[in-house]
Symmetry: D2
Subunit: 469 residues, 4 copies
């Protein structure tokens, strides 16, 4: 079931220094929404692979509770299908959070209750509703980095997160901010929680809850957009096609009724939320599946560029390209292995192995960066020599067509190819995509640090014990 | 003496898909020209260091024929002064070519003559005029990369350079194209030549000459500009301040009178031109001096960012910063050493050592890239969380001021700092600057290959001989 | 069935500048042979996994013709079991060539025949005999690098390979040399062929054949050994435990009867031999399985070292360790994926996918190098501060025991751990192991170049086509 | 004046698990001492550059108090001359400490005195004696790394440094250990102090003093030697030529008379000692001068290897070589700049700038590693294919001579060149040299961290201020 997103539902969105009277009139919002909606469109176009039946209803396959490795693989193909629509460059399409919803539904026990509400029941109801209505949820977990040398509660100035300011029997009031809330202005609802980094004393920040994007007191402040409104998609095939839109979200005494709350002033539960809800484990598969699509896209681009510029015959270029394809193969294997070596959890949900997925997350940013660097090395100055698309249509057209054609490609194809190469490596769209790979999953330094702790090394350790006697 | 640049002198410039009726009305041209003109302005502001007297006239110091290491050092300080004005980010200010003019004047012999003209005399007259009028010369040496697997004359389709199409007793007619001609639309004249890469059979391309930018048949086609016209310099402190403007230059049967020609259909002389004119050696010092300023700028930025975000207390951050400052020190030393170990050439001109300068050229791109990577690692998501500058002025102002301030910096300073960090690393302006460092001096792979051939290793080789008996 | 290797069968082996009268008396040969023989020993200790029955006989599982992915996985476990015995550091144990034997047996057709012999039949008989007798075959493919700027036949001086010098109806005479023939002096037989790099004119070198190691005219010249005979395994736990022994093999008019010949003066077949025999594809799985064991060994060592030196609490150390475990996970996934996505070939043999295996081969050397670098960074000066093992036994014992103990480990364990760390990173044993990973599979630059050609990028290419219209 | 080192002066030295009855009979000690003594020999061979006259006596130039940049340059040439003798691979020749002696002599004031002795006077007398007798001093500053997560005094087990155990009016008694004391067994005396890393509570460890190497209660325990006693210098041109010999030094109630003490139980002065004595600044110049020689040696080797194997015609090889020569140029420039931009200190001593020197120290390890990696990539398997040197002398001689010769080099030269390449990259000698570059100057992470704090960035900071308004 697909939900039409009504961007004019009263949500308060700032863009380009203005409060938008009618968000639905923003060209870039509309274009981006079309890419997001591929999630819903594919349900209709490929129901056999994208839908499944439960009871008498059909749902997107990502809501299915996985019980075998094959279930995970089927879901992964859905994630990849969706990612392909945006070349892997929309990170937070609806399937991201959705992938975790059936798992969260099975793991709400730990949330417990307080005097006002049953957090566990709230969560169950939440999951049912998201699934039933196929809601587009955007999540906000990152707190603004105001002073990274201190714990949240130690910082005396600035908004360092969202905190509870008042409690009533009806609900709570929250104020503060979250940052880099991707796709927020196009979503239906927000899911607010923290990464497991809170420390003693951070109680007021230790919250998890949901709210509609048009909640009273909520302001969505978009970062500066990346599109080039004076140019075409010919010139900027990605920047002018869509924008994932990161937003700074301001909460001013926003009221959250108790049924929308999952964690309240509880540092320990806030820190357990992301992991024990299963959200981390299952969104991780979606995330790496998407990442693999994106890596394949830029890998293909690098090879095409090398061939069309006539440099693929050089051994050093071939090596650079082989580095990219080898990396891609490693990522593919880790995805398959994560599914194959998954396991049933205590609630009977089959989850992927974390270690192969975390390995992708740890190494893919560098691999993606390698691809961009390769593209820049190949395109080099040629990317700076592409005339404006409109030049081809005017009086310059014939001369440019003649001068910029080669036996390897036409002047038009050359422009498209070089424009794409620059868009993906040199434009803010492309660099933000690189940053996204590095940071959206958390500090990559900590991701690696986490990986080493949990690695199964029993074979290595036995060898070590033997040789050290 | 300073020459006012008249942009409306009939030059044919295309920008944003249009032939400009009045180039002087283009905001970005005007802004950029002001930065270029710092070269002339500094002559007035600091005559003691920027001017010298010869005969009864004063010239910019860069025109002085160096005769000692101290002369080179004085000129280098001038290059750096000029570079500081644009944070090292205008690579082709007038001093670039000017630095080589007095040297070229002393090395014109090798050009010889043909039946129509005396190339050597042409060159001498050219140098005198450039110096006498302090002309702003832009040079174009890079040929369009149409098919990099072939020599110029082997490529049957597309414009692969500028070639002679007709010869008369008055002069020659040339057609074709040059690419990435930086700052061309703002210059007075173009100096056209090739890098030393022509091969047998490329005779028609083997030319060197000058022409005014408003020559009949010359079209200057600007690449897409990097500025963000809907935003302020607050949001984009560099992108919206100036643009070095790379251009694709089209020649359609352009007439070049013989007195403007230096090399004609002579592969050997074309290949000797850049080196033996002294242009390579002396522009190289200007180039590395400018590069050092740019490297210092981003180094300072990385450190400021680390301190204001409160992460400079972490050892791994300190190490990243120390890597940058250590690199900067190495560059500084090589500059000094190039001057100190320079030598008088056969014409009595004191030239810098090439090897230290080429070493900077070989390694600075990676160093500069390290700085950008460091800035991106530090700024990370925070750079994606900066509201539009206008948000601070409107109704959101007070709440943003409060929420985004810290004890380490005000909300405004934070925005400026993060905006600059993103501009220099994530915007097309910044990425083009990175590409510039990698490629403006030629293929960095070949720069290194060239370096090894000429290195003085007599101490190492003697040790080797001893141990290998 | 296990074959006892008789080292004193007349083989001509040079070691330490001497022709060995009795190779079986060489301590390092004996020790190493024991590690090699683990291949046979495991058949007896774990017959359920290491043996299979065909007809009425039992064979090592590596000789089984794989027909499913599960077959490959079972064989891979055997490869890993064998590798574990030597910490992955014996590359050329019998299972290496054996893994390809059943495949070669099914792909001999292409070898054809000449007037003297049926190459195809020779190959079949060969495979039957190797399998039937479980022979330890060492293979020699690498030609001595005398002048890498020329083709074999263009080099006028020195031995650049093995070439045919005379032909009779009985067989051929060969002379010349092969280099880096690992474990040769301990083997029963040699299999001689070339990598697919011969060019027109190299006909005399275009051979493939086998011969016993004690063939008349064959000389096995060992490189200088890595052991430290004046020290114990306490001091050098790897260097003094075994040595894979690379040898330079000299052929002086060695007679090879026709039944031992597979390719004769045929550049095209010589170039097809390694690939079309199936040897490349199936030994590749053995090789990467072994590589994964070795990578796990050094990963475990790095972690143990960090923990025992008390540095594992530092985030930057944790990151280095996480980099290693993430790499290991990627390798594991690629192994699994190679088996899963394998396919039946035209002879009904199920072979692993080459691309995931080649990806490991392309990237594992760097990963292994990362592990060594990490160990060196952690061990640093402490590895230089370990007293001789005998110091602990003598008068110094008590004081060293006291001074070098910590709450994290005893003085003895500390010495063992640091000695191993140095052995694997700083001794010639360890550095040769690093070189082995880089070069045993061929020039890593070419491995990557090869990888890019064959990668399945249909998803990426479709996305590319879509966006480039 | 040269001091003959008497190795049999009662010093207690352990080597290969034995207490040496007569150290002077150890071949490796004798050979190494000859390399160390080059310091003295050069005084005789090149008195004009290596000696200077003060009063009526001649001293090694390294003892001269520098008063100008030219003085530093002259001394640097002496350091390089001495380093050339051992290819830059003896780090702690006498000139290392000597370079700091005249500076220390001028900066003893800060040491003060206590009730028993005048530390300042002790230091002055010490400097006079070292200079007067040209003593070979080895210094020991590194404390054993027993538990790197704790401060010295917090570690309850094991020897974590040298500490005072008893005090009398005659002197102090010390016990404990120092590690990686390079060349100690060949020296006359030890200078004992700490790096500036002690913290409150470490008082007992806060000492600085000197003692003769044959002091009662001192034990010098050598690490396992790197030579290959069963082989020749033909096979191991470096490993078998000399060994810098790192030692673990044990102190058991060693008595140190007060006149030998410079710092006593004073954490603050212990932490100031290395810097304020001037030892750090001036030994740093010696150290980087030596490092530059070593870098040039391996750079020359890499180039020779490429040329003789016939691979220098490949562009990717040329690039690798150019990377090495470019790095070398940067180091050379920094050395020159350190001298040129040095300054007179408050005692009238002209000292080199620290920042350029520290920059070399920060980056040279990676550069040196690049050179080794390049050599390994070029030598690859060929290094594993070199027969034992004795093989060339025996019956194999003629065949090896023939087979291993090429038009690019003889079989003998080939062996020498590949043996050296392996020795410097793959043998423990070579790897220890790599480790030495990384760690002898302290943790390279901290070296970089220190560099960033002190860098002069006023130009960068002014640009930053301007653009951030």
């Amino acid at each position: 079931m697909m939900l039409a997103t009504d961007l004019d539902d009263g949500r308060v969105v700032y863009l380009n220094g203005q409060k938008l009277a009618q968000p639905s009139k923003e060209t870039m919002f509309v274009k981006t929404l079309a890419y997001v909606n591929a999630y819903y469109r594919l349900q209709q176009e490929r129901p056999k692979t994208h839908l499944y039946t439960e009871g008498d209803q059909q749902y997107d396959l990502v809501f299915k509770t996985p019980q075998t490795a094959a279930d995970l693989t089927a879901k992964r193909h859905v994630y990849q299908d969706i990612a392909i629509e945006s070349y892997g460059m929309l990170g937070r399409t609806p399937d991201f959070i959705d992938s975790g919803i059936p798992v969260f539904a099975a793991h709400t026990e730990f949330l417990g209750h307080n005097q006002y509400t049953d957090f566990s029941a709230n969560a169950k109801a939440y999951c049912d509703r998201i699934k039933g209505n196929d809601v587009f949820v955007s999540h906000a977990l990152q707190n603004p980095q105001i002073d990274r040398s201190k714990a949240l509660h130690e910082i005396s100035k600035g908004a360092t997160g969202v905190k509870a300011t008042k409690v009533t029997s009806e609900g709570i009031y929250v104020s503060g901010a979250k940052m880099v809330n991707t796709l927020a202005p196009l979503s239906n609802e927000l899911l607010i929680f923290n990464t497991p980094t809170l420390t003693t004393g951070d109680d007021d920040y230790a919250l998890a809850f949901w709210l509609p994007i048009n909640a009273e007191g909520l302001k969505v402040i978009c970062r500066k957009p990346f599109d080039r409104p004076d140019h075409s998609e010919f010139d900027y095939p990605l920047s002018n096609a869509f924008d994932e839109i990161d937003a700074y979200i301001v909460f001013e005494d926003v009221f959250i009724p108790w049924p929308q709350v999952f964690v309240f002033q509880d540092v320990e539960k806030s820190n357990r939320f992301f992991i024990e809800s299963g959200l981390f484990q299952h969104t991780m598969l979606q995330d790496q599946a998407r990442g693999s699509v994106k890596l394949e896209f830029v890998t293909s681009l690098a090879i095409e560029l090398a061939q069309r510029l006539g440099v693929d015959k050089y051994l050093n270029v071939q090596e650079m390209l082989g580095n990219l394809t080898a990396n891609l193969e490693l990522v593919r294997g880790a995805l398959v292995n994560a599914e194959l070596t998954g396991a049933l959890d205590n609630a009977g949900v089959f989850g992927p192995s974390i270690q192969p997925l975390l390995a992708i997350r740890a190494q893919l940013p560098k691999m993606y960066g390698d691809a961009l660097t390769t593209i820049q090395k190949l395109g080099a100055g040629s990317m700076m020599g592409v005339p404006d698309g409109r030049d081809f249509d005017g009086e310059l057209g014939p001369v440019l067509d003649e001068m910029l054609s080669s036996n390897l490609m036409s002047a038009e194809y050359r422009s498209r190819l070089l424009n794409l190469s620059w868009d993906v490596t040199g434009e803010s769209f492309g660099q933000r995509q690189l940053m996204y790979e590095y940071y959206h999953g958390g500090d990559p330094v900590r991701i690696r640090a986490q990986h080493y702790h949990d690695e199964d090394l029993h074979v290595g350790n036995e060898m070590l014990k033997r040789i050290l006697k």
